[in-house]
């Protein structure tokens, strides 16, 4: 691999979006009977959050697949995905170190039998990043996403699902420094989803959630509703939904507290969890 394949990027909280990437545009494809999808375009910009919802088999995975590989009318859906309004260069699509999209799914695993420190250092080295303390910074961020503390000396293979997912998200933010992050049903993995969303906003990431979780869907600025393989609706959160979001947050808080109490072995009675 030549030097030209790598480029060094500083990871700062504010301006860490690749300067040249300002938006991703999804253009409509066709449904199974060849009809064009009923939307003009979906534009995703840094700092925005988007959720994709719909029943199993409705085409959620195909949509994120299209975004992840920058479809150019060459996938089953016929969609096209543009970067800054143009068809992206092949480099951007094919070199994972240059690709502006990181996809983290429930299946994403670290296979290497390395410690957290070694694993992150391996990524830092492959990116030719020379900033001191970047590994510690990544672990510290990951620890904001999970209640089970990750230590640098832990083996990657011994981490829980929640710890692994937290670390992958932190790695994408700080070491990968990827402007667009797609999270595929990670809410089941035991992470503080509201904190993840807040941090991703703070770091000016564009985030796409594939989700069945009411809180995650409602916390996103927009949600894309899928059915039979196509986008059928794009809902922008309005004031009414914002009120609903406040109520859902409260419910989620009650459920989280309840979960902790059950884990702690407490007896749960009807009167005891209403507050």
């Amino acid at each position: 691999m030549t030097e030209g394949h790598h480029y060094y990027r500083e990871a700062h909280i504010v301006a860490n979006m690749d300067p040249e990437i300002t938006e991703i545009t999804v253009l409509p494809g066709r449904d199974k009977s060849g009809r064009r999808e009923d939307f003009k375009q979906i534009v995703i910009r840094p700092g925005e959050t988007l959720s994709i919802v719909g029943p199993t088999g409705s085409g959620k995975s195909a949509l994120i697949g299209d975004i992840e590989i920058f479809a150019g009318e060459d996938t089953a859906t016929g969609r096209t995905v543009l970067v800054n309004g143009k068809i992206p260069s092949e480099d951007l699509v094919r070199d994972p170190a240059k690709k502006p999209v990181a996809l983290i799914t429930q299946n994403t695993k670290c296979l290497a039998d390395l410690s957290v420190q070694e694993f992150l250092s391996m990524h830092v080295r492959s990116r030719r990043i020379e900033r001191d303390g970047i590994v510690a910074e990544t672990i510290a961020l990951a620890n904001q996403f999970t209640g089970e503390e990750i230590v640098a000396s832990a083996r990657m293979t011994a981490l829980s699902g929640g710890q692994t997912r937290s670390l992958m998200v932190a790695d994408a933010i700080i070491i990968g420094n990827t402007p667009i992050i797609i999270l595929d049903e990670v809410e089941n993995a035991g992470i503080f989803k509201d904190r993840v969303i807040e941090m991703l906003r703070a770091y000016r990431k564009a985030v796409i959630f594939v989700t069945h979780d009411p809180l995650v869907s409602l916390m996103c600025d927009r949600r894309i509703v899928m059915r039979n393989g196509t986008v059928v609706k794009i809902i922008e959160r309005d004031r009414e939904e914002e009120k609903a979001l406040a109520a859902v947050k409260k419910m989620d808080g009650i459920l989280s507290a309840l979960r902790e109490r059950i884990r702690a072995g407490e007896l749960i009675t009807e009167g005891g969890f209403a507050s």
């Binding site: 094919r94 695993k109 990524h123 492959s126 992958m168």
Partner: protein
């Protein structure tokens, strides 16, 4: 007719990649398929049934499967041409990493699974080094860091190789492999096709079936524990 050679370690996803090639090209070009394996193989029957293409297999038995492949290749090209094929896909058994069945006048594809660990490409030598394209399968299962390191390791072994990352079950990324197949030239003169690399040689009595252990019991090129030199030991 074009010749496509697919190699790679066991369970790397070679047949899944072949399936994607056939699925994508079916209807535009006639494809014939040959599987080379040691004792059992089912891929020919599966692909014939699934796609209705001419497909067959060769069992190498006690012979090294790549060796068997070299022996039957001339016949196989004549067979596929007789079937009217526009592309002959030959899939290797994928046992030893030293062997590399790639031929001149063909496209050489090595299939490597991303879950085989970041050191795997470094261990594979000519199987990667002599291929034109490395298809990395199960890319959806590994972390971003490992994806990047895996790619670098492949490029360490084969700086000029084209890398196609895919989830071969879904067929993501296949467009680049299909483009490469489209760009591949037809066989010019089948009589002059040869192996790209030197095959491992039959160099000692182990190669011809002697089971005793220890260099004292063997002839040919042997080696002792101490000292890095190989020695020729004759009778």
């Amino acid at each position: 007719m074009k010749l496509v050679i697919v190699a790679g370690p066991p369970s790397a996803g070679k047949t899944a990649v072949v399936r994607q090639i056939i699925r994508n090209l079916q209807g535009t070009v006639a494809i014939a398929y040959l599987k080379i394996d040691v004792v059992r193989a089912f891929e020919d029957e599966e692909l014939r049934q699934e796609f209705g293409i001419p497909a067959r297999k060769v069992y190498s038995g006690d012979l090294c499967p790549d060796h068997a492949g070299i022996m039957v290749m001339g016949d196989a090209i004549a067979w596929a041409a007789g079937e009217g094929a526009g592309i002959l896909i030959v899939e290797s058994a994928g046992l030893c990493l030293r062997c590399s069945p790639y031929l001149t006048q063909s496209l050489g594809i090595v299939v490597v699974s991303a879950v085989s660990g970041t050191h795997a490409p470094l261990k594979m030598g000519p199987m990667i080094g002599l291929a034109d394209v490395a298809v990395v399968t199960r890319i959806d299962l590994v972390s971003q860091a490992e994806k990047e390191v895996f790619r670098e390791r492949i490029l360490d072994v084969a700086p000029g190789i084209e890398i196609v990352e895919t989830n071969a079950v879904q067929g993501t990324g296949m467009r680049y492999l299909l483009r490469r197949i489209a760009e591949t030239a037809e066989i010019g003169d089948a009589e002059t096709i040869e192996l790209r690399g030197t095959p491992p040689l039959g160099v000692c009595t182990v190669c011809v079936g002697r089971k005793a252990i220890g260099w004292q019991h063997h002839f040919g090129v042997v080696r002792k524990l101490d000292g890095v030199d190989w020695i020729f030991r004759g009778e």
